[in-house]
């Protein structure tokens, strides 16, 4: 399957061509080059998937295939960064997801970004992002993953800051990069620790389940936890940064300043699940060597999910609602990984997490692209400027509804199947976790339908000109993704992806399934009651619990805390004093040295007055003095 190399090379070439020749090309030509090359990549990815899964199983598992691997940089005898392609069930699954969504976004952007300044640049960046993301998922070793991890970070930075004359976009891109960079510091230190003790970067060796490679770290503990646990926790920190886990989530809502298709691609479907993918990739290490970290992952996931769901209920910017919903859903995936076991039925969580990643990518991309179509129609992100749009945007309306039903977990849409597995896994882990996750699922249904009704129903607000349905380039991807969302749930996902590679037969846990559907329906009914027609209850609730409402609207002041830390502490309490110290202590002491020598020479220069008579005087008395000293 050597042709998989092309999957990486084509987007890179497209990036180089569009980046270097961009301004020479017509915008639409540039867009077509990008889209066509990605169409080829999609086909290659599908064919790779087809071919990979048609290789017969060995010992009941799909063996990993490495069509390409070469040494790129050597550190020591054992440690070297290789670049290569590793095909195994999850990376193939990710290839399919990324190329599909990316292709949809490419097509969609032909319509959405039409007439924008920097159209060529936009497609160049999209290609760069696609290249880096694909490189990330097929990484053969953890350092290659880190390399592409940084590259996706940069492409995300460039795309968020696409409208670089807008101060908010510049600030948001900076924030996204710095926050994830901070998390990557943890990732890097984690890699250093892990690789030092295991003497390898390679995923194949790390995840082989062979305990002997970890013997180097045996007995090495730090603050009561084994050093491998620390390493894995730090690596998870990197994943938490990219996947916007609490408290490193603050960049994601701001990242919505980027163009909406970019939000769909990077900040909903692909890049933000990189953290989940990382944990899944290293799952055997977590499970066997650092089970304590796995619990941490589950807790962080649950807290994030709850937090984001609560905040999403009160946001008024539709992209912000979707952003928090993304955070919340990624929390679900993290929880599923955290509660998962390794073998047999215990591996449900792992499978569910990957399944949810897959379905979520589709319906969340659909939601964002739908939001893009709405914004395209009304030129605003605020819910208050919408309402009653179902008449004007029929296609968008239907597809959006499909996605809302999917994310709320209503059968037969895909979200129901994956989320239901996650709930079942959570209940298996502990009833408390199950209840909490079910509650979050209910909140999800509530805020999604609050969004839906506020956009498409309710009171029509005054428009400057009549909203109109988006062009074909935009509606086609919507329809395609809606179809996928409709049917993806029926994919026998466990046949392809599971924690130990063995085939996993999905059984619906009826009690969990029925409860969750009932809960979701109640939430939807509540949302319908509140928001379908003008209803005073939400406002009254908001005034009754005004403190809570304001706190949630301000996202529980986490941003302010960060602002305090960065502005007040780092900027004013560290950097400024250091800069002052440099100028006024170190430099001043050196200047002081200079002025001291000047002072000394100024004071002794009186001795060399140039007055011959004075010299004679000194000579005379000097001679006499020496005579006296000699004679005595």
């Amino acid at each position: 399957m050597e042709y998989t190399t092309l999957i990486l090379i084509l987007p890179l070439l497209t990036f180089l061509v569009l980046g270097l020749l961009g301004t020479k090309l017509k915008p639409f030509t540039a867009g077509c080059i990008g889209t066509l090359s990605l169409a080829v990549v999609v086909l290659l990815a599908y064919s790779t998937a087809w071919q990979y899964f048609s290789i017969p199983r060995v010992d009941g598992v799909h063996a990993p295939v490495i069509p390409l691997n070469f040494e790129w940089l050597r550190f020591t005898q054992y440690l070297h960064i290789d670049l290569g392609i590793l095909l195994d069930p999850i990376s193939v699954m990710m290839l399919v997801v990324i190329t599909t969504v990316s292709f949809m976004v490419h097509v969609y952007s032909l319509g959405y970004m039409h007439g924008e300044r920097g159209f060529q640049r936009y497609y160049a960046f999209l290609s760069l992002f696609t290249f880096s993301m694909l490189g990330l998922v097929v990484a053969t070793n953890i350092f290659q993953m880190y390399i592409f991890w940084e590259l996706v970070g940069v492409s995300s930075y460039l795309l968020i800051g696409f409208y670089y004359t807008k101060p908010e976009a510049v600030a948001a891109s900076k924030k996204a990069f710095i926050v994830t960079r901070f998390a990557d510091l943890g990732f890097l230190i984690g890699i250093l620790l892990l690789s030092y003790y295991t003497k390898t970067f390679s995923f194949e060796i790390l995840t082989s389940g062979d305990a002997s490679i970890f013997t180097g770290a045996a007995g090495t503990t730090f603050m009561g936890c084994s050093v491998i646990s620390w390493a894995m926790a730090l690596i998870f920190m990197g994943g938490a940064g990219k996947s916007a886990m609490f408290p490193l989530h603050i960049w994601l809502p701001d990242a919505m300043e980027g163009p909406t298709p970019v939000s769909a691609l990077i900040h909903a479907a692909t890049m933000v699940v990189a953290g989940v993918f990382l944990v899944a990739r290293l799952f055997p290490v977590y499970y066997l060597e650092a089970p304590d970290v796995l619990v941490l992952i589950a807790v962080v996931g649950a807290v994030t999910s709850l937090y984001a769901a609560v905040v999403a209920c009160v946001q008024t910017d539709i992209k912000r609602v979707l952003a928090f919903s993304t955070i919340s859903q990624i929390g679900f995936m993290m929880v599923a990984l955290g509660v998962s076991g390794m073998d047999g039925h215990a591996g449900l969580g792992y499978m569910a997490s990957m399944f949810h990643l897959f379905t979520h990518a589709m319906f969340k991309a659909l939601l964002f692209l739908g939001a893009g179509a709405i914004i395209h129609a009304v030129h605003s992100n605020e819910m208050s400027h919408m309402g009653g749009l179902r008449k004007y945007l029929p296609v968008t309306h239907i597809t959006f509804l499909v996605a809302c039903l999917a994310i709320s977990g209503i059968p037969p849409f895909s979200g129901f199947f994956s989320k239901d597995e996650i709930l079942a896994a959570a209940f298996m882990f502990s009833p408390v976790m199950g209840v909490v996750m079910s509650f979050i699922a209910a909140l999800t249904a509530f805020y999604m339908f609050r969004l839906y009704y506020n956009i498409f129903w309710g009171k029509e607000s005054a428009h400057e000109h009549t909203p109109h349905e988006a062009p074909k380039f935009m509606t086609l991807p919507l329809v395609f993704l809606a179809v996928v969302t409709l049917f993806a749930g029926f994919i026998p996902f466990g046949k392809f992806v599971s924690s130990n590679g063995q085939e996993y037969i999905i059984h619906l846990d009826w009690s969990v399934a029925i409860t969750s559907v009932i809960v979701a329906c109640i939430s939807i009914a509540l949302a319908t009651y509140f928001y379908r027609k003008a209803n005073p209850i939400p406002d009254r609730l908001a005034t009754t619990f005004s403190g809570l409402h304001r706190a949630a609207y301000r996202r529980f002041y986490i941003d302010e805390v960060y602002l305090f830390i960065t502005k007040r502490i780092i900027f004013n309490c560290i950097s400024r004093p250091i800069a002052w110290f440099d100028r006024h202590v170190i430099d001043a002491s050196l200047n002081g040295l200079a002025s001291m020598s000047q002072w000394v020479s100024y004071n002794i220069r009186g001795l060399q007055s140039g007055q011959v008579q004075q010299y004679a005087y000194v000579i005379l008395f000097g001679t006499i003095l020496i005579l006296i000293l000699v004679l005595i």
């Binding site: 940089l73 550190f75 960064i81 940084e150 900076k174 560290i574 250091i578 430099d587």
Partner: protein, 496 residues
């Protein structure tokens, strides 16, 4: 005659050419020829070196030549290169080449300017090819003095003050250095004839540890001043801010590397035992450099100051890695020298070009330049990304090699300082993005800037050469790291 001496001869010949040239045209021909010849020679040397190594030559230094210079004191003019000097020569040639083009439109006293510029490069090249302490020291001084005039005459701002400060501090450093070198010289051979030859001294192991303890800090500080070792770094911000563009490039790009190279080649190579014993002091100082420089850069508002402090941080990492005393980290140190040299030269070139247009370096007075001068803007972003360690550009490979190497030292002290040094990658991101955001993005602050033009051909040429070098190293680092780490074998065996 050995072809390494061409590195000294070509600048001398270009100086002669300059001396006889009558108009600007001839001056340009002379300097461009000299710089291109040097670049060709350096690239040729890389291939010759790799070819020789590939053919199985395992000598520690290749292409050696030796001429007795002053017999009573056993002073030789001896040259030779290993992988590290080859890398440094390549770097110097690239910087001199691009620096020449960056000062294509020098406004006054062009002839004198280039004369001094080439005298400086004689010092630089001579330093890297020498394997005799005396000639090394001599070329070192040759490299320092022209800086005074280049900054004092052609600089801007508080140029006299900055030139004086820089020269005095570096001269102060070389005073330490001279004492150290004399100490090494007189203890180099027990009772026999003292030697100045680096290889002889290193292999004789004649210097007792008690004396090494005295001379190691002297030499290390002496070179460390040039390598911006905390707290002797303050010449760097003032000096760089006042220097003309090409001089900043050469100074930050190459001259600061003289410090790192000297620390490595003289201090550690000749006194390994003391290095092992005393490295902790300097690890603390360089660890402070790394973080301190980065934090200082956050609040600066002058583009050159930001970059100068960033240089303090990055060069601190070079010395830090050298002190880790293992093969990986030292390889990383040399790669970091190369990478920092290239990207800081790119930065200074771009800052010079922007300053030449806007006549200000204060980031608060600029904004939205990306739209006005897209070429320079994109190059600045690339330089920034290289500086914050984006994979695919040179900074990443260098930093990662340093960190992985440093982490091979297992004790808590080294680990803690490695992690402290790692944090600099976050702070670097903060100050780089702050500048990029204020300078290039956002709204145009000054309406006069709207009339400005983008880069012209010679500016494009020099930035593109630098960017190609940066991406070249970033994409295919293996040959470089192999070349460097192969040359570290003998030192590593001496350390263990």
């Amino acid at each position: 005659m050995n072809f390494l001496s061409l590195f000294v001869l070509i600048p001398i010949l270009s100086m002669c050419g300059l001396f006889f040239s009558k108009n600007l045209q001839q001056i340009r021909v002379a300097v461009a020829t000299g710089a291109s010849l040097l670049l060709v020679l350096a690239v040729g040397l890389v291939f010759a070196y790799l070819g020789e190594r590939g053919a199985g030559n395992t000598a520690e230094m290749l292409f050696t030549a030796d001429t007795m210079w002053y017999a009573p004191l056993n002073i030789h003019y001896s040259v030779g290169v290993d992988g590290i000097s080859v890398a440094m020569l390549l770097l110097s040639a690239i910087i001199v080449f691009t620096g020449t083009f960056a000062s294509w439109k020098m406004e006054f006293l062009q002839k004198e300017y280039f004369l001094w510029f080439y005298l400086l490069s004689i010092g630089v090249f001579g330093f890297f090819i020498s394997i005799d302490l005396f000639t090394m020291f001599m070329f070192y001084e040759v490299a320092l003095i022209p800086m005074y005039l280049l900054i004092g005459v052609w600089g801007s701002g508080k140029k006299e003050y900055a030139a004086m400060k820089l020269t005095l501090m570096l001269m102060g450093g070389s005073a330490f250095l001279l004492v150290g070198i004399l100490g090494i010289y007189f203890n180099s051979a027990g009772t026999g004839m003292p030697s100045m030859n680096l290889l002889e001294i290193a292999h004789s192991h004649a210097m007792p540890l008690a004396l090494q303890r005295w001379f190691f800090p002297l030499v290390f500080i002496g070179f460390g001043v040039l390598g911006a070792l905390f707290p002797f770094h303050t010449w760097s911000p003032d000096g760089h801010a006042s220097a003309p563009t090409a001089v900043s490039m050469l100074h930050a790009g190459v001259l600061m590397k003289l410090g790192g190279y000297g620390c490595f080649r003289v201090a550690i190579y000749l006194m390994p035992e003391a290095a092992k014993e005393l490295s902790w002091i300097f690890i603390i100082l360089t660890g402070i450099s790394v973080v301190y420089g980065a934090y200082s850069a956050i609040v600066q508002t002058d583009l050159k100051y930001i970059n100068a402090y960033s240089s303090v941080s990055h060069c601190g990492l070079v010395l830090f890695a050298i002190l880790m005393l293992n093969q990986t980290a030292m390889t990383g140190a040399v790669m970091q020298m190369l990478s920092h040299g290239l990207m800081t030269a790119l930065f200074f070139a771009l800052i010079g070009m922007i300053y030449g247009r806007t006549h200000t370096r204060d980031i608060r007075e600029m904004g939205g330049l990306m739209r006005i001068m897209p070429f320079l803007g994109v190059c600045y972003v690339i330089a920034g990304l290289a500086s914050l360690g984006l994979p695919g550009l040179s900074g990443f490979v260098a930093e990662m090699t340093v960190f992985v190497g440093a982490f091979q030292n297992t004790d808590t002290f080294h680990r803690v300082f490695t992690i402290i040094a790692c944090t600099s990658i976050v702070i670097t991101a903060v100050y780089i993005l702050r500048v990029v955001g204020k300078l290039l993005y956002g709204k145009v602050v000054n309406d006069h800037h709207l009339a400005l033009t983008d880069a012209v051909w010679y500016e494009r040429f020099s930035t593109i050469v630098l960017i190609l070098a940066i991406t070249g190293i970033g994409l295919a680092p293996l040959w470089l790291s192999d070349m460097i780490s192969g040359s570290l074998q003998s030192l590593i065996s001496m350390l263990h």
